[in-house]
Amino acid sequence: MHTGAVSVSSVTRRFKQVVAVDGLSFEVQPGEIFGLLGPNGAGKTTTVHLIVGMLRRDEGRVSVLGADPETQPRQVRKRIGYVSQETNVYLDLNAVDNLWHHAALYCQDLDPVRERMEELLQLMNLWERRKDAVRTFSGGMKRRLVLARALLHDPEVILFDEPTLGVDVQGRHVLWEHIRAQRALGKTLMVCTNNMTEADTLCDRLVILDHGRAIAMDSPENLKAALGRDIVTLRTTPAIDDPEALFGGLGVQTISRPEADQLRLEVRDAESIVGELVSRVAAGHRLEAVRIARPTLDDVFLHHTGRALRE
């Protein structure tokens, strides 16, 4: 018996020889923002399509608010909202007409639509422009309209596929605020993204996907903390030839060389060794830059896969 708003259990989906989703399991709790983080081709969109019932699974079980999207599609679709990667609106219609179109296709109760429409357009800061053709909107405004549209039928679960793709930084923050506001209203939200900042900032919990498999799942803070290390990046002239020898005895766990003159060290507690580390470097090299950072989700991905998320 699943208690989650969305439950994915040992789900596999193949496209001919390619396994897009491979034995994936996770559960999204009501009222949380759950992220699917991974590089392009990791299986995020396929997973979302399996959840909304656009794709059939080869193995496993999916449940959305207690219903199976494959066998009870209408029951699921009444209660979910889906914001796709594409800004799929009628550009020559105005915002209100786009929403009416959605209402005709989704809203169970048509009576309160007009009030709900006004409320959402006000909320998304689109009310003043409601009668303008959407073609004249900025990218951020169009995304806000897509979000308003997805919320129009008051869904309990909302799935976002790359919600801020192509949106400028300012617009991105506005959208994040709107998504958080929906969580405050008790909605369950799933966000597919390959943007680490988005996942880090927005998600309560997330699953990191690679080649269709879950490689880690927890809150962003816990995932980073689980690495148990800090990252020290050094840039020197000339480059350090034998870093293992130079930093011996300092408790450096991993050394990699992202650039010819750069070293990336993973250490348990950077603050306690940074003084000694700098003195050893300065003895034979000119230290151009030193940076100490807490691990990012990229580091988490790197730790689990040996590749950077952005590669």
Binding site: Y90, D97, L105
Partner: protein, 352 residues
């Protein structure tokens, strides 16, 4: 507001997504009719005649004025000119004496064989009339007995035959564009995930297409009436006859959009199938007036059946087999409705 009405309204709002196409779809056959009726289809030909210098020449001119169709339209309007032997734009008739007898010489300009035939036949009719007037009891008389008490004016027939095309074009063009652009704008996703029944969604779209088609038909009926003075006996019956044509066309448009997923190919398929079907289906004249092969092919199109069903409402007499034609249109409509619903499920709601 009930959902079906909201869906239909929403479909009409999509008019703004491709205004020129929607306007063309509704008005194109009417424009075609006006061009044909006002400019191209004229029962009376202006025929230039070099100003005669002999009594025989003037007698031929009078005979030309008297020749006409059973319906009463004169065939020839002689236009007297002073021809200097220079280039001729269409044709000129010169009555001159050759071998001691008057000969009407017809000199042609840059016209095609069809027009040459028309000019020649009309002048021959005038010559026959003149010849008969000289023969007295020995005259060869030709009596024309049209099938109907009043012969069918081509302008009216042509307009009536355009009515099914008008319904077809409005529904097929609009249907193909509306469907294809859903894929182009990726708004098809809205339909894919909708919890509303496919029958309701598709029903609303087809209703909108059929209504557009009927609007186009009403406009053309008005224009035909204003140009010719001919009005159908019962507009409601005309619309009822054209209803299945609109359904067939709407389904074909939606199918083209689903199949090609791009506006231009879908539009072109609608265009070619519409006009080819219309030409084959009695567009330029009843199938009975053409050869056996044409008649056979014609019966495969909805146009021939619709035209035959419309005939009594314009000319007061039934032609063909009305019951068979009605059954053909109804069956084809139902078959295409089923096929469209199947294609919609396959291309929209089923897994990609």
């Amino acid at each position: 507001m009930d959902r079906f009405r909201l869906l239909v309204l929403s479909e009409f709002r999509l008019f703004r997504t491709a205004i020129p196409i929607h306007v063309v779809a509704i008005l194109q056959p009417t424009v075609m009719y006006v061009l044909m009726a006002v400019i191209l289809v004229q029962p009376t030909f202006d025929m230039e005649v070099d100003r005669p210098t002999t009594p025989e020449g003037w007698a031929l001119v009078r005979a030309m004025e008297e020749v006409g169709s059973p319906i009463g339209d004169p065939y020839i309007q002689p236009v007297l000119v002073n021809w200097d032997g220079g280039p001729v734009s269409r044709q000129v008739v010169v009555v001159e004496a050759k071998r001691d007898r008057p000969v009407a010489v017809q000199v042609y300009g840059l016209i095609d064989s069809n027009l040459v035939k028309n000019f020649r036949n009309r002048l021959t009719a005038a010559a026959l009339r003149l010849w008969n007037s000289e023969l007295g009891d020995r005259a060869v008389l030709v009596e024309e007995h049209p099938w109907l008490p009043r012969d069918v004016p081509y302008k009216v027939y042509f307009g009536m035959a355009l009515l099914p095309l008008s319904a077809f074009v409005a529904a097929a063009f609009t249907g193909s564009i509306l469907m294809a652009q859903e894929f182009e704008l990726q708004t098809i996703l809205e339909y894919r995930l909708s919890p509303v029944a496919v029958s309701l969604i598709l029903g609303a779209r087809l209703t909108r297409l059929v209504l557009s088609a009927l609007i186009a038909v009403v406009i053309l009926i008005l224009v035909i009436g204003l140009v010719t003075g001919f009005w159908p006996r019962a507009v409601g019956s005309v619309l009822l006859i054209l209803l299945p044509v609109a359904v067939i066309a709407g389904c074909m448009g939606v199918l083209a959009g689903l199949l090609f997923r791009r506006s231009i190919p879908a539009f072109l398929v609608g265009l070619v199938s519409g006009f080819a079907g219309w030409v084959l289906g009695s567009g330029f004249g009843l199938a009975a007036g053409f050869g056996q092969a044409y008649q056979w092919v014609s019966r495969l199109t909805p146009f021939a059946h619709a035209t035959e069903l419309l005939f009594p409402y314009y000319f007061g007499a039934s032609i063909g087999r009305p019951l068979f034609s009605a059954l053909f249109l109804a069956t084809l409509s139902l078959a295409l409705l089923a096929l469209t619903a199947l294609a919609y499920r396959r291309r929209v709601t089923a897994e990609v």
